[in-house]
Symmetry: C2
Subunit: 274 residues, 2 copies
């Protein structure tokens, strides 16, 4: 399995990926899932991939040479695309090429053509953009309302992203949020594992110097792992336990609802007590 | 969808269920998923169900009259079973009976026979027990090491359970934990909804008075919903942002790892920079 998250903020982009793959619980390996495509000063793009590893590796390989027909003009590649939208179309085309090559044999073997990718970056003067690319090569784009995408084992780590992220979140705070989200995922799902690749891109720079490979010795991530769980428990303990119909409690746990009837019990006499 | 959680502690049992069902996003309904089977002073059992509603409703109906052959002795029912293990076998048998009745037609319609249930309680002098029953009628039992089961949309709400619950957790604290877990699930998944049914059972009592139907006006759950998200954000803000290789930070975010090589970048020249 995999967990990757990509975030688009006003201040820039944040990408985080784990590196565990598994083919059954007894075949665990480490494969990095982040790839940076950079033409310094001209374009900067990051790809995060989840799904079948043979598919995503093939897509990454093909992406470097994939050409999209462009009428009488030069075919579009990720290196000459004038917009992130076009670059993402090239990625979609690479996915479709792998599907043509491997799809029928995978289907015959009963294996889904399963891959999903986060692709984001900036080209020239265009604004930063972030896309989620599906197995069919189609894609959607992040907006102000939905400023992050996750692929892979996304559910454990979604609540903190939902609660914290807005387009105005500062870059390093968003990186922290992604790491907390990853921590929750690591804790609940064995199929997601270290090392992590973290990349923070500042709007308009067309390059990134802030790239980290995070292993189990990284002081910051260790601090997150220790602190977050502990503080969460402290917050949890700081909230009152329920007082059953507690008359003087600030927030009594009422046992009845105005709108819904009490739960039914079934007794050994077959009777239902309302 | 559904989210239900059952917890077995030294002090007793906690059950919590939502009540939303959906057949497509445009067919949302409210169905309660908790059922109490009680023979006061003799046995007390609670069933939480997830999966296909037609299956789980049929199982609940049949469970009341299901009889398990018992050699020359009286057949075993949930009302005369001497142990929770036997009562759960009766439940498994009810699941299999529904499978016999409906399985082939569901399969012909391309619908999975999908149901999972949490069943727990206490019979006579036996210790409390908690089971997770699968679609095939087989089941597993909670232990000291794994003291809770979830069915339905379980992932969003699992991290807090993982972090807080142990067999020594007091009953009302566990109820609070279940409600926080439910809150995270409600926030991230529209297919889980109010009202909630909460039941807290104290070991050895063979009855429960602590049953609550929680709707959106319940003061305690409202407090949880408001407080938890807010405190979570406070804790989040209280953790330092990453300092990139920050020399004097208490916990610098190192950009390199001892064990793993830096991420590769691909440039427009096809070159890979390590």
């Amino acid at each position: 399995m995999t967990y990757c998250v990509g975030i688009r903020l006003n201040a820039g982009l944040v990408f985080l990926s784990d590196s565990r793959t598994n083919a059954g619980l007894d075949a665990i390996s480490t494969f990095r899932k982040m790839m940076v495509y950079e033409q310094p000063g001209e374009r900067f793009m990051v790809l995060l991939s989840a799904g079948n590893l043979s598919i995503s590796q093939s897509v990454r390989e093909i992406l470097q040479v994939e050409k999209l027909p462009n009428g009488d003009d030069e075919p579009i590649t990720i290196w000459n695309a004038k917009s992130m939208f076009d670059a993402t179309r090239v990625l979609g085309s690479a996915v479709r090429r792998v599907y043509e090559q491997d799809g029928p044999a995978l289907k015959a073997a009963g294996i889904d053509f399963n891959c999903s990718m986060i692709f984001g970056g900036q080209i020239g003067d265009e604004a930063m953009r972030l896309f989620l690319v599906y197995s069919a090569g189609n894609f959607i784009e992040a907006t102000r309302e939905t400023c992050f995408f996750q692929v892979g084992e996304s559910k454990y780590g979604k609540p903190i992203l939902d609660r914290v992220l807005t387009p105005d979140t500062p870059l390093d705070e968003a990186a922290k949020c992604a790491l907390v989200s990853m921590d929750s995922t690591l804790k609940s799902n064995l199929s997601v594992g270290l090392p992590l690749d973290l990349l923070v891109y500042e709007a308009g720079t067309l390059k990134s110097e802030r790239i980290a490979v995070i292993d189990d010795k990284n002081p910051y991530f260790k601090m997150i792992r220790d602190t977050w769980g502990e503080r969460l428990r402290e917050v949890f303990e700081g909230i009152d336990d329920p007082q059953w119909n507690g008359g003087d409690a600030a927030h009594p746990l009422l046992t009845t609802s105005e709108r819904f009837e009490p739960m039914r019990k079934i007794t050994h006499l077959g009777e239902r007590i309302v």
